[in-house]
């Protein structure tokens, strides 16, 4: 499809502004931009149709089943979009006087209270704009905690090898050192290895629980105890909270700090890769270090922004984070409530186990026993014997009206496909998906060579990613005339 720039016609435009109603003032010419402004020249018809066409070339949760492991692609309730579009929320300036934004502060205040209850934490900040940003904020809290105690030799963070890549990358951004921890044969934390790894230089330990294999670590209480005994703090990566939300709380597992991906567990739409929100909760001993400002309530019930937080790590984003994302998540939480929230987790786990059971008829499943909200398939044997890889399977699924699972993650599993159906799919969707997976498997066994040709029905075939990386072309350039 043509790019906007290729549709541009010199002189074409739309008119949106009212005529200027003040006398003319002109910026002196030498202070003006000399370089041409190469934006496309289009009518609104062109623009509107262009994006309608691009929409048809995109695939969201609304287009079909999206079992992208670790991403929790659940249905995004429409009421939340409606609430987030209320002018009382969209048309307020972040620096308005506090008495004129009591409703917005109430959203932040009550969302913090509720999510603290859900996670077993004492305080929370919504400044982080994404999960990785939350990790960074959480590790900064841990860093500041040790600094404040004068316990500066603590600069190592232990990270299991099953962790998302953001964990070790965050440790580096925080000026600390990663200690990689090999997982046990069951994919869980190896207690003995952990005991060896901790010491007087341990600042903290990051864990995703359930982990990226979809396994809830049965030794979780021992794990957090070992880290605490060594003087470290425990960080809960909330990427997989959907498995246990409303059922168990990270705070009760012994974690000191947690980030939530509100765009996963709390249903806010992913937007093609953002905006999300990586809210960070912490226990009381870390609260003083949270980014400023904090929303506080007076005895008369008036809400205000407390700017004076002398021990704070500082700000991690402007204003108060992705406010409208927090608002959607809080709307979702309020809709479901105490009774609805545990049903989310239970049905997510049920769906994952049911689909895992159906796929285990043919596929090799890494998980033993029940999984949590997701499970991992390995195509290692098929790749070796039939040269059919996880990539081939994923690309074949593209022609079947569903989004493929996450490929090649976690890194500790070869030829991995990570499947997370979420709770917002009915049994019949899981059955249909199972039939598709199983029939593709049969084809892979019978005619393995045909599996490299997919997808055939999509608007493009497999893209040449090597060429894209070797000769990066990151913007449109006008053809030389």
């Amino acid at each position: 499809m043509k790019l906007l720039f290729e549709k541009s016609i010199p002189g074409r435009r739309s008119y949106y502004l009212a005529p200027c109603d003040v006398p003319e003032y002109t910026l002196p010419a030498p202070m003006q931009r000399q370089e041409a402004l190469d934006l496309p020249e289009l009518s609104e018809t062109d623009v509107s149709r262009h994006y309608s066409a691009l929409e048809r070339l995109s695939f969201g949760v609304n287009q079909g089943f999206y079992p992208l492991g670790s991403c929790t692609m659940k249905y995004n309730p429409k009421i939340n979009e409606k609430l987030a579009a209320l002018s009382g929320f969209t048309e307020i300036h972040p620096l308005q006087p506090e008495h004129t934004v009591q409703g917005a502060l109430r959203v932040l205040y009550e969302a913090e209270r509720s999510l603290c209850e859900v996670t077993g934490m004492d305080a929370m900040t919504f400044q982080p704009a994404a999960g990785a940003h939350g990790e960074l904020t959480g590790l900064m809290l841990i860093k500041r905690y040790h600094e404040a105690r004068g316990d500066t030799p603590r600069r190592k963070i232990i990270v299991p090898d099953s962790a998302h890549g953001t964990n070790p990358a965050t440790v580096s951004m925080c000026g600390m050192e990663v200690v990689n921890l090999s997982s046990g044969a069951d994919g869980c934390v190896d207690l003995e290895a952990l005991r060896q790894a901790v010491g007087p230089d341990t600042a903290g330990f990051m864990l995703t629980n359930p982990n990226t294999l979809g396994i809830f670590d049965p030794n979780i209480m021992r794990i957090t105890e070992i880290v605490h005994e060594a003087g470290g703090l425990c960080y809960y990566d909330g990427a997989n909270l959907n498995a246990v939300v409303g059922v168990v709380r990270p705070g009760d597992m012994g974690f000191d700090c947690v980030h939530l991906n509100l765009h996963k567990t709390f249903s806010t739409p992913h937007g093609g890769g953002g905006p999300g929100s990586g809210a960070v909760g912490c226990k009381a001993r870390l609260e003083a270090y949270l980014p400023a400002p904090r929303v506080v309530m007076s005895e008369e019930g008036k809400l205000s922004l407390q700017q004076d937080c002398p021990e704070s790590i500082g700000k991690v984003r402007s204003f108060y984070g992705n406010f409208l994302v927090v608002l959607r998540a809080f709307a979702y939480l309020t809709t479901l409530g105490q009774d609805g929230l545990p049903e989310v987790a239970k049905n997510a786990v049920l769906n994952a186990n049911y689909l895992m059971k159906r796929l285990s008829e043919r596929f090799t499943i890494v998980n033993q026993g029940f999984c949590m909200h997701e499970f991992v398939i390995t195509m290692e044997r098929e790749a070796k014997e039939k040269h059919v890889t996880a990539m081939d399977m994923a690309k074949a699924l593209l022609d079947c009206g569903m989004h493929p699972p996450t490929m090649y993650f976690p890194l500790i599993v070869k030829e991995a496909l990570m499947v997370e159906p979420t709770e917002t799919e009915g049994k019949e969707t899981l059955d249909e998906a199972a039939e598709i997976f199983l029939s593709l498997y049969d084809r892979a066994m019978a005619e393995p060579e045909t599996m490299h040709e997919y997808p055939k029905e999509t608007v493009i075939g497999r893209p040449d990613e090597v060429r894209a990386a070797r000769h990066p072309n990151l913007r449109y350039r006008k053809a030389e005339s």
């Binding site: 790019l3 720039f5 435009r13 502004l17 003040v22 910026l27 202070m31 003006q32 931009r33 041409a36 934006l39 020249e41 623009v47 929409e55 969201g60 999206y66 609430l83 009382g88 929320f89 969209t90 307020i92 300036h93 308005q96 004129t100 917005a104 109430r106 704009a129 990785a132 940003h133 960074l136 900064m140 070790p168 965050t170 990663v178 809830f216 059922v247 168990v248 009760d252 093609g272 700000k315 204003f319 409208l324 994302v325 939480l333 309020t334 809709t335 479901l336 409530g337 049903e343 769906n351 186990n353 059971k357 593209l398 709770e423 917002t424 049994k427 999509t458 893209p463 990066p472 913007r475």
Partner: protein, 440 residues
């Protein structure tokens, strides 16, 4: 309670039977004893959608929407063509995730590629990433990428938006980078001091065009000083003013960053917003975050993919320079739609009207006895006034008339902002009220 669970009780029983268990609770039987909450977290029971609609409508009503806004300071009210909200409400844009599977994500990928191209056009630089969280984090990421073994000190202009300074400061504290503030003089960076602070250990200089006080910086001069010392020059850019002012490239910037909110994104109490980030060819591979590139598919047709991923955290893990993975794709799409709708002439007109109206307003205010414009330099759409009396009194008088006045500064001044949406009558009303307050 409300819920979004499609399976019926009967379907659930069928699934449980297939798993040879009796209840959903059995799925958690391997969890340590005592951890499982017996009846959910201690939050109110589910209100259902109707209950939620009531609650949130009432909270929205507790906020005051001002019909007239003269406040900016990092968040700007501009006219947003209706086509922008129409585009960013499209379900497959809203409900898609990061376009990992290029074959079914060409729409999202092309939209981001077009966004990247437009950011390059605005800044004049060679490459843009797919966006980051906001303007402040974009600045912090830019400062981080300039650092190397020999150069570990960053110079940040004190004339920058204070929130940007604070975020840069937090990131640098965590990473162990040294930063030094270059003082402000007359509302802009003091270039004489800058010159004395530059040295072989300086990695970069960051300043903003426009300064926090709305003043135009001599960015070209700052850039040459910076380059003479072998450091990188990072320019924080207001994207509307960019249509009128010399581009970041014309100013000699190595990296341009900025808050993209003015490009079609509502004020929304501070977010979601959009951080844009562009750089010269030499620095392209150091840019953090996602990037979309053009390539071909198996049949030789044009195709778009996420590219240069070898830089990113999921491959490089602790060796990655940033942990960022998501961008603000939907906000970037809003910005691209806005720029496409406005076009080069439309955007220039927005910038010109901002400039003209701000100057009309500043001139009118300056006729009030005792009220002065604090800075003498050229400005765009923001400026600072000093009053004889209490700024709060004036702002309260304006508020009573439904007008959100400028931002009160800690030193008693007021930072005003005027954009194309402020009509002349609004400004005349403010001037009249200000005259009364100053006289009383």
């Amino acid at each position: 309670m409300g819920h979004y669970l499609p399976s019926t009780d009967r379907q659930r029983e069928e699934m449980l039977r297939a798993l040879r268990i009796q209840s959903l609770e059995e799925l958690y039987r391997d969890l340590p004893e005592g951890l499982v909450l017996s009846d959910g977290p201690k939050i109110p029971k589910g209100q259902g959608e109707l209950g939620v609609l009531r609650k949130f409508s009432s909270m929205a009503a507790e906020n005051r929407v001002f019909s007239s806004v003269f406040r900016g300071a990092g968040a700007y009210r501009h006219y947003i063509p209706a086509v922008v909200s129409s585009v960013v409400s499209k379900e497959s844009f809203v409900t898609a995730y990061t376009p990992y599977q290029a074959e079914i994500s060409q729409g999202v990928l092309q939209a981001i590629f077009e966004y990247q191209t437009m950011i390059c056009a605005l800044t004049g630089l060679d490459a843009s990433n797919a966006s980051v969280y906001d303007g402040a984090t974009a600045a912090a990421e830019a400062v981080a990428l300039c650092r190397d073994r020999k150069r570990s000190r960053a110079l940040i202009s004190a004339a920058s938006n204070p929130q940007v300074i604070q975020v840069v400061n937090t990131y640098c504290w965590a990473a162990g980078y040294e930063i030094e503030l270059i003082p402000e003089r007359d509302g802009v960076t003091d270039l004489e001091v800058l010159e004395t602070r530059l040295g072989p250990d300086v990695s970069c200089v960051y300043l903003e065009q426009l300064s926090y006080f709305g003043q135009m910086e001599d960015a070209k001069a700052a850039s040459s000083l910076t380059h003479q010392a072998g450091a990188k020059f990072i320019l924080g850019v207001n994207p509307i003013a960019a249509a009128l002012l010399p581009s970041a490239a014309e100013c000699g910037a190595d990296i341009a960053v900025g808050e993209g909110q003015p490009l079609g994104i509502p004020l929304s109490f501070g977010g979601p917003y959009l951080g844009f980030m562009a750089a010269t060819d030499a620095l392209t591979r150091k840019l953090p975050g996602r990037m979309v590139g053009e390539t071909v598919d198996a049949n030789g047709n044009r195709a778009f993919v996420l590219t240069l991923q070898a830089r990113e955290q999921h491959i490089r893990r602790e060796k990655a320079s940033s942990n960022i993975c998501s961008n603000q794709a939907l906000c970037a799409t809003a910005a691209a739609t806005y720029l496409a709708a406005m076009g080069p002439q439309g955007l220039r007109e927005v910038a010109q009207q901002c400039y003209q109206k701000a100057h009309y307003f500043a001139e009118a205010l300056a006729t009030i006895p005792g009220l002065t414009l604090r800075h003498k330099g050229e400005f765009f759409h923001e400026f600072v006034t000093d009053l004889p009396g209490d700024a709060a009194k004036l702002l309260e008088a304006l508020e009573a008339q439904g007008i959100l006045g400028g931002l009160p500064l800690p030193d008693g001044g007021i930072l005003w902002c005027v954009t194309e949406v402020n009509a002349r009558e609004e400004m005349d009303t403010v001037v009249k009220l200000a005259r009364e307050v100053c006289a009383s």
